[in-house]
């Protein structure tokens, strides 16, 4: 009647490793790094990309930018939802922040108000998705148009400009001021900790650790998986599925807000094209990182590795003159397809045991 033999098989170490959702992206990252190391060696640009601080900065900062968005995108995807509005929300956040500064609001409250605005926007998106039952793909496609449109409409109507410069309102480093405040240091530092990186890299590192721990080790993380795996079953055992999803849309919008504010703080201006297409890059990173589009499966670490794959391929192509820049898109497309295929294969292996 009992007996380990026929009922449950022992699962070995190799098996548990294969069962990790980020396995595909580990391979992918290894392949991309080796490929670009070889290609830069051939072009004689190896040190420019891999040892020169400016070269490293180029792809690490892009990975951080896409990676911050991919954190939100992967959590949402695990919960069975999509957010196409994140790229546009970067522009909305940047413009909101810049307008507040221009109309005389000091930096700290302007940042706070911008976060409140974007969190509220995420709340609205989440409520619409949960209440109407419309696919989040459609709902956030609406906001993909609306967010950027509204940002530019506001700046055009109020100031008759689409690009907003806030250099005078900011201190170091963007404004060139003498006496940076704590807030300036917090949002606009670069070359910190002896490393050649802007602020977003440090935010990225902290966020990855926090969110990965939350997803694997906390009760809320458990609920995220359940909300995407089988929402009906999750509700039946008392998981507040709607609250989980709405909070993730709020987090996603706040991550876009962080990037919008950081970009304005470091560059001293808000560009209406900020974050264009970044939503697709973040989703690509999440897919490469092993998140299932159907929900219930995936990892933040995988999405982060996906962001590095994207960034190394994206920036690396500039160090390899013998490959056409347009070929980058072809490569990236094949990479996404290959990763999706590999991940599906691995996921089926998990179920078969």
């Amino acid at each position: 009647m009992s007996g380990t033999d026929e009922r449950i098989r022992q699962v070995g170490l190799v098996q548990s490793f294969v069962a990790r959702p980020e396995l595909g992206s580990v391979f992918g990252l290894a392949i991309i790094v080796i490929t670009f190391m070889i290609m830069t060696s051939i072009s004689g640009t190896f040190s420019a990309m891999w040892t020169n601080p400016i070269g490293i900065q180029a792809w690490v900062e892009l990975a951080a930018f896409v990676g911050i968005l991919a954190i939100g995108a992967s959590l949402l995807m695990i919960a069975g939802e999509f957010d196409l509005s994140i790229g546009a929300n970067i522009a909305l956040a940047g413009h909101s922040f810049a307008l507040l500064l221009i109309f005389g609001v000091p930096v700290a409250p302007a940042i706070l108000l911008t976060f409140v605005e974007l969190a509220f926007l995420g709340f609205i998106i989440g409520v619409i998705v949960v209440r109407t039952g419309l696919p989040s793909f459609i709902v956030t496609l609406g906001f993909w148009f609306a967010s950027r449109g509204f940002a530019v409409f506001l700046s055009q109507t109020l100031l008759n400009q689409s690009r907003l410069s806030v250099k005078p309102q900011l201190k170091a480093p963007a404004g060139g001021g003498e006496d940076p405040t704590i807030i300036d240091n917090l949002f606009a530092f670069d070359k910190g900790f002896g490393l050649p990186f802007d602020a977003e890299v440090y935010y990225f590192a902290i966020l990855v650790i926090m969110v990965a721990l939350m997803l694997q080790k906390s009760r809320f993380g458990n609920w995220i998986y359940a909300a995407g795996g089988d929402p009906t079953a999750a509700r039946a055992v008392g998981v507040p599925v709607n609250r989980v999803k709405i909070s993730l849309f709020m987090l996603s919008a706040c991550l876009a807000c962080l990037l919008g504010v950081l970009t304005v703080m470091t560059s001293g201006a808000s560009d209406p094209k900020a974050g264009d297409f970044r939503e697709l890059h973040a989703i690509a990173a999440a897919v490469i990182g092993g998140c299932a589009l159907t929900g219930g499966y995936g990892s933040v670490i995988g999405a982060v590795l996906g962001a590095f794959i994207f960034a190394i391929a994206s920036r690396g192509i500039n160090f390899v003159p013998f490959i056409d820049n347009n070929m980058f898109r072809v490569m990236l497309g094949l990479l996404i397809l290959g990763a999706a295929f590999l991940n599906q294969f691995l996921r089926n292996r998990v179920l078969k045991g």
């Binding site: 009647m1 009992s2 007996g3 380990t4 009922r7 449950i8 098989r9 022992q10 699962v11 548990s16 069962a19 721990l213 080790k217 906390s218 009760r219 458990n222 609920w223 998986y225 359940a226 795996g229 089988d230 009906t232 079953a233 999750a234 039946a236 055992v237 008392g238 998981v239 219930g296 499966y297 996921r347 998990v350 179920l351 078969k352 045991g353």
Partner: protein, 261 residues
């Protein structure tokens, strides 16, 4: 086995439920004792689902009383019922195939140590509780997608018991399974009966399973109780006819024989 002198763990007295002008349940009386399997039988549309939903707090009855351990009670929500020890295992089991055995066991009621989940403790409890029902889970961190249908049923039952079910309602637990797994589930149900603490309400279409496992039988037909009694009070040979709603099967039989001759 049958101790009719004790108070039933759960009892319905004269319960009726109407949906508009539809009479879903009329004057239904029903009881289940701990350490017993009460088989709830009846054809589609007999009112089994409505009765389960009344028992588990999804529907509030329009007439009649629900008594738990002899005390009249009202459930306004499924949560009220759950708090009072009604554990319902639905056909779809409410499980997450890609999540681990332990994570499924504790989903929605996780144990934390500080901010983080106490996985070691939860793994240990899962293993112990499953072992009580005769399943040795070597690795509770594996996804339940790898378990058989019968094992998943056991997991859902073990979970309901661990979280305090005094009454275990099993909604057609064998219907979606292969023959061998059906027997596995019946074994599990028997294990629960032998704990002698839990009243089991076993809903089924399968007269063979009902005959194997039942201590008490309640037959529903068109929202009313057609027959009700202990194992020794029921004409076991007539089980199938009662399930089909009384004499209808016999009528059909004679009808067919008349047409064929």
């Amino acid at each position: 086995m049958a101790q009719q002198t004790t108070t039933p763990t759960i009892q319905l007295k004269g319960v009726s439920k109407f949906f508009g002008n539809i009479i879903a349940l009329k004057d239904v009386s029903f009881k289940a004792h701990k350490g017993q399997v009460t088989a709830l039988l009846g054809d589609n549309g007999a009112g089994k689902s409505t009765l389960i939903k009344v028992l588990s707090g999804v529907h509030i009855p329009d007439e009649g009383d629900i008594l738990i351990d002899g005390i009249p009670t009202t459930f306004k929500t499924p949560r009220d019922a759950a708090v009072l020890g009604i554990g319902t295992v639905y056909q779809d089991l409410a499980l997450q195939p890609l999540m681990s055995v332990t994570r499924n066991f504790f989903l929605g009621r996780e144990i934390s140590k500080g901010v983080f989940l106490d996985m070691n403790r939860m793994n240990e409890i899962t293993r112990t509780e499953m072992a009580k029902l005769g399943i040795d889970v070597a690795d509770p961190t594996q996804p339940i997608g790898t378990m058989s249908g019968g094992q998943r049923q056991t997991l859902a039952i073990a979970r309901a018991i661990y979280f305090g079910a005094k009454v275990l309602i099993l909604d057609e637990p064998t219907s979606a399974l292969g023959q061998k797994q059906q027997l596995e589930v019946l074994r599990t149900v028997n294990q629960v009966r032998e704990m002698n603490e839990i009243a089991i309400i076993f809903i089924t279409h399968n007269d063979m399973h009902a005959r194997l496992i039942g201590d008490r039988y309640t037959f529903l037909n068109r929202g009313r109780v057609l027959a009700d009694g202990d194992r020794d009070e029921i004409d076991m040979d007539n089980l199938r006819a009662l399930m089909a709603g009384g004499a209808e099967l016999a009528e059909l039989e004679s009808e067919f024989q008349n047409t064929s001759t």
